[in-house]
């Protein structure tokens, strides 16, 4: 009978649909509350991260401390997710050179409540809080934990290497 073919097809479709929904839910809960992979590229975090690209693991569990490398939602462009290092927490005083190309004039800012101050490790080529100001804490997406690729540099992402 023709209808039983569609019955079987419908049953198969719903079974696959339920499986997809279960896998998606599991992935969703894991990436939103535990850890998620990210692809970071660009020159602003040299030498911690390669400019040509790194696949990293970021976690959402721990509370942020000074020196953590984080993924955040950019306050300038809602679609961009830059990776920078937390240099100041709320209440900290941060000093930075306002226009390094022009002169050595520096400013000191107190990070307001509910915000963090982020800077790239390669300050000469980094758009960070020195341009867009302190970042509200809710825009922080996760803390970088581990680098997965390139394989030669498989390992934890640590404190800035002092040159």
């Amino acid at each position: 009978m023709a209808s039983s073919f569609w019955n079987i097809a419908y049953q198969q479709a719903t079974k696959s649909g339920v499986l997809v929904a279960k896998v998606y839910s599991f992935l969703h809960v894991t990436t939103n509350y535990l850890a998620f992979p990210a692809y970071a590229f660009g020159p602003s975090m040299i030498p911690t991260l390669h400019p040509s690209g790194n696949v990293v693991l970021a976690e959402r569990i721990s509370k942020l401390t000074r020196g953590d490398v984080i993924v955040l939602q950019s306050p300038e462009d809602p679609n961009k997710l830059p990776t920078k290092r937390v240099v100041g927490l709320e209440g900290d005083s941060v000093s930075f050179v306002v226009d390094p190309g022009k002169n050595d004039e520096s400013r000191t800012i107190v990070v307001p409540k509910g915000h963090v101050w982020v800077e790239g490790d390669y300050t000469q080529n980094s758009r960070d809080s020195r341009s867009f100001g302190p970042v509200p804490y809710a825009l922080v997406q996760g803390r970088l934990l581990w680098r997965v690729w390139p394989f030669q540099d498989f390992g934890p992402i640590g404190p800035p290497t002092t040159t």
Binding site: K22, S25, H28, V29, Q73, S74, P75, E76, D77, P78, P112, K113, G114, H115, P136, Y137, A138, L139
Partner: protein
């Protein structure tokens, strides 16, 4: 060895219990995904949105889809995560999108001195409808767009005020 046999007797029950737990877990997942990403109800209270929203508290339906597609427009009432306290959500109206120039009175109780700002790229300007009792962009500045978490659709409680919010 008697306790092993005892455990075996409970195997059937344990299997049934696990099945029931997994049904409950799947239901909770579905509720969570709907509540966070599609539509949810929020209890809002406070004087900052009078007369649109009541002081003692309203329940409003908020949808969480528009902000992901950039469909937040002028005059929308939005749920925003507070830039000063990341654990709190505030409900305000969007009065300026990026690039808009706004004038506002720095202190409406004191005088008419007005300040003019341009909303920077990637930010929105939010204000409560009750200018005299609202902490909003006039205090903490324009808010990054990504802090918007939902758009208010309609009010569902108290029942005599059921309907759209304008």
């Amino acid at each position: 060895m008697r306790w092993l046999r005892y455990l075996n007797q409970w195997r059937g029950t344990a299997k049934e219990a696990l099945e029931q737990v997994s049904i409950v877990a799947k239901f909770l997942c579905l509720i969570h995904v709907t509540d966070r990403y599609i539509i949810s109800s929020t209890h809002v209270q406070g004087p900052s949105m009078l007369p649109t929203l009541n002081l003692t508290g309203d329940v409003i339906l908020t949808e969480h889809l528009s902000h992901r597609f950039g469909k937040i427009g002028l005059g929308d009432i939005v749920l925003v995560r507070s830039p000063t306290d990341p654990t709190r959500m505030v409900t305000k109206r969007v009065l300026g999108l990026e690039g808009h120039r706004l004038s506002f009175s720095a202190d409406p109780l004191v005088g008419d001195s007005s300040v003019s700002v341009v909303v920077p790229k990637g930010h929105v300007w939010i204000q409560g409808d009750n200018l005299y009792a609202s902490t909003d962009s006039r205090n903490f500045g324009p808010v990054p767009y990504n802090l918007i978490e939902g758009k208010a659709l309609l009010r569902v409680w108290p029942p005599r005020f059921l309907g759209s919010l304008r």
